[in-house]
């Protein structure tokens, strides 16, 4: 499933939206939205203001429908990368975030995220990718004569090739989030950044297909939660003033 084009934030109510869409489907018509609205309000434990919900109801309905449609969108298509480039990138990103008992870069559709990135926010990096892939191929051939493609190398060989390339760019992208810092411009670091983004971004950002990345790291795909959140707050007795007084 590719969620390109799903830009509305109400998608974050996904679990609830799905239930809401189920309500709609069950009734077979949008005209019965009033009872559904009450059910929806109930789902959000009453903590969403009624006035807010009234004001935002049309947007919620349209987003729920949108989510419903998006779920039916067929598989991904490549716009920028050639099939060969995509195969190479799939192999490299699968070494950065490998598949084990849970999904990795491959299952999360990271290659499709990168393809989309090269058309949008990283459109200036197309030539970096083209040159970078050539360098990877040359490095593979240099370390393992006879190996013509990264994707044709054995996994052990792939790890050695990548280790060699990362060793050259010692300064990793340590600074991120608010401080863009002095970004390392080496291809493997760019690729690492985009692999992580494609693995873990909210699916509306074009990666993390079927929430593979979030499931791997233990992030519940929902966007509305109620306490208790985890193990340690389960048995919290409630706030008690401290026994000791201010010194």
């Amino acid at each position: 499933m590719r969620l390109r084009g799903v830009t509305h934030p109400w998608i974050y109510l996904d679990d609830h939206c799905k239930q809401y869409v189920d309500c709609l489907n069950h009734r077979g018509t949008m005209n019965s939205s009033q009872p559904a609205r009450r059910e929806f309000l109930h789902l959000l434990s009453g903590s969403v203001g009624a006035a807010w919900l009234t004001a935002n109801w049309p947007a919620l309905v349209s987003a729920a429908e949108h989510a419903h449609q998006a779920a039916k969108t067929p598989g991904a298509i490549l716009d920028v990368l050639t099939p060969e480039q995509a195969r190479e990138l799939d192999a490299i990103t699968s070494r950065i975030i490998p598949t084990d008992e849970v999904g990795g870069a491959h299952e999360a559709g990271v290659v499709y995220f990168i393809d989309r990135a090269l058309k949008t926010f990283a459109s200036t990096k197309v030539s970096e990718y083209q040159q970078g892939l050539v360098e990877v191929r040359e490095r593979a051939a240099k370390l393992f004569p006879g190996v013509k493609q990264f994707s044709q190398a054995s996994i052990e060989q792939q790890i050695k090739i990548l280790a060699d390339l990362f060793a050259e760019s010692e300064k990793q992208d340590a600074a991120y989030r608010f401080d863009p810092g002095e970004r390392q411009s080496s291809f493997v670091n760019t690729l690492r950044l985009h692999t992580i983004m494609g693995f873990l971004v909210d699916p509306e950002g074009g990666g993390n297909r079927d929430f593979v990345g979030w499931k791997a790291i233990g992030r519940d795909p929902a966007h509305v939660f109620s306490p208790p959140f985890g193990y340690y707050d389960k048995d919290y007795p409630g706030w008690q003033p401290a026994e000791t007084k201010r010194k």
């Binding site: 084990d100 909210d202 990345g213 959140f229 340690y232």
Partner: protein
């Protein structure tokens, strides 16, 4: 969308032009329009709505959906006034209606009494340019209360024995406790400290047509699609528009404050979204553009009458920048906390608010328990040092740690240092051809020493909490800042301050400044609560002056 919305012509001489719609600008717009004045708010960024607030980390952190864009508005940086500045992003601030209050963490401590008179108590500090505020905590207390009730703050009055006096409890109970809050509270108490539920500008109950927090987990850095985060956008700006006297004009980049031959301001010149320049005429101008852009605008407005920049006879415009010190310590625990759910901060402690001078430390700080890493950011920056950057071990660490980690964030005093400043870069221009914002900054050694001390206490708390792995980022000199404080400080002495206690510039009678730049000391971090309280107070002072005819003549 909002009833009673008004539009003014640029040729209409409105009562006030306010530059900036963030924490201060939003409050001033609401208060002044409610008091009967005609107001135009010029906001550099777009007018985004709740429906525009996405959880897409790439859009937020890579494409700067809500914040200033380093490619459009480059910054430069140098460590000392004699150094050559390099192009490098140095500041982050909100660039949309609501300003930084849209994406902030929403930690809402008040300043304490000591913050207003610390210089008198401690005396001069070598290398620092300290001063007392011309107002006291008592002067600001009613306005802190107003913020809590009108903008919406959740918290528990009396829970911290170090809190300053207050006239009213919080209007809402604290947000639910998180795993980090429970672990921190137990551990800190074991060590004899006094943790308390974090006061947060996030609704714990539905209020004023807004929703309570739904714990979505995309908080710091993101806009709230439920209107639960108490940004000026969610709270006061709709009230301002409802008066029918306030126009919020987005995509309006102010680049000069116009003055007449009598040295009075007559309006603000701005670029619209097509880069066409307009002059919005006004009887008075209030700059609430943040502690970077307010001084920059004053310096951009220099002319033959004001060769050093507008309102800069003191030379203090842009000086004494205080970004607050900070340090982070993290711990990993055996069981899942799932602290990615919910708002960021759960518990705070103020036991170190006033440091013992015997330790050789000036000022103080607060520690809070939080988790504010969204998934991509956690993978890039939230893993223990030494974790491989790729491959099976990287993935394993990420999968194991994401739900089991929390951070103790240490915030603290920045001492004012005159050379620490914002100024205009002589060479680098932004996409509109205006001189770039240049930052000159080096932390006062006291501040680094104190942050190291706090960081060690944070590691002790993580130990007491039973962390199986813990680490702290090294405390280093800051080169990128988000709290932009002190750069047009308030004071009674026109030689050592830019505005008086009424937020009026000493030099220009109908020009006012109100934002982080007004602050005389940095507090101990978390300045937005104080910026909003200052704005409520400034609106009262400005209303009084206007009603007495003391602005127009």
């Amino acid at each position: 969308m909002t009833e009673g919305r008004v539009t003014y012509k640029t040729s209409d001489e409105v009562d006030f032009v306010i530059v900036g719609s963030g924490a201060a600008g939003g409050v001033l717009a609401k208060e002044l329009s409610t008091n009967g004045f005609r107001v135009v708010v010029l906001e550099q960024g777009p007018y985004l709505r709740e429906a525009d607030f996405v959880h897409d980390e790439v859009k937020i952190f890579e494409q700067h959906l809500l914040t200033n864009h380093p490619a459009q508005q480059p910054n430069t940086f140098r460590k000392s006034p004699t150094g050559v500045a390099k192009v490098k992003p140095v500041v982050l601030y909100g660039n949309c209606v609501g300003g930084s209050s849209v994406h902030f963490t929403a930690n809402y401590w008040r300043l304490h009494e000591i913050d207003f008179k610390e210089h008198s108590k401690t005396g001069d500090i070598p290398g620092a340019n300290c001063a007392d505020w011309p107002i006291s905590y008592a002067d600001l207390e009613p306005y802190y209360t107003k913020v809590e009730w009108e903008v919406g703050v959740s918290g528990l009055a009396g829970a911290s024995p170090f809190d300053p006096p207050r006239s009213k409890p919080y209007p809402m109970p604290p947000l639910p406790v998180k795993g980090c809050g429970v672990l921190f509270e137990r551990a800190a108490r074991k060590l004899g400290y006094h943790p308390f539920p974090a006061p947060m500008a996030i609704l714990s109950q539905p209020r004023a047509g807004r929703s309570a927090c739904q714990n979505c987990g995309f908080c710091l850095g993101f806009g709230c699609e439920f209107g639960a985060k108490s940004s000026s956008l969610a709270s006061v700006i709709p009230m301002a528009e409802k008066t029918g006297r306030c126009e919020i004009r987005p995509n309006s980049y102010v680049h000069r404050i116009q003055t007449d031959k009598n040295g009075r301001v007559t309006g603000a010149l701005y670029f619209d979204s097509k880069r066409v320049t307009h002059l919005q005429r006004a009887k008075a101008v209030i700059l609430a553009a943040n502690g970077g852009e307010t001084p920059r605008l004053l310096l951009l407005s220099s002319n033959s009458q004001f060769p050093q920049g507008l309102a800069n006879s003191s030379g203090y415009v842009g000086k004494n920048l205080m970004p607050n010190g900070n340090a982070i310590a993290c711990g990993v625990f055996d069981e899942p906390l799932n602290d990615y759910k919910g708002f960021a901060v759960s518990r705070v402690m103020h036991d170190f608010y006033e440091m013992d001078p015997k330790l050789g430390l000036y000022g103080g700080g607060g520690l809070d328990a939080r988790y504010d890493w969204t998934p991509v950011a956690a993978a890039l920056n939230g893993l223990p040092p030494g974790t491989p950057k790729w491959g099976p071990e990287f993935k394993q660490a990420l999968c194991q740690n994401f739900s089991r980690t929390f951070e103790i964030f240490c915030h603290g005093t920045s001492l004012p240092v005159e050379d620490n400043s914002f100024s205009l870069d002589p060479d680098v221009k932004d996409a509109w051809g205006l001189p770039a914002l240049r930052m000159t900054f080096r932390d006062h050694p006291n501040d680094l020493k104190m942050m190291n001390w706090m960081k060690d206490r944070a590691l002790e708390i993580l130990d007491a909490a039973g962390a199986k792995t813990k680490w702290a980022n090294p405390v280093v000199e800051q080169e990128f800042v988000v709290h932009l404080l002190g750069t047009c400080r308030m004071g009674n002495d026109p030689k050592r301050s830019v505005i008086n206690a009424d937020h009026r510039t000493h030099d220009v009678k109908n020009l006012f400044l109100c934002d982080g730049s007004s602050m005389v000391t940095s507090g101990r971090g978390q300045p937005t609560m104080t910026i909003m309280a200052l704005a409520y107070r400034a609106a009262d002072r400005i209303t009084d002056l206007a009603k007495r005819g003391e602005i127009s003549t």
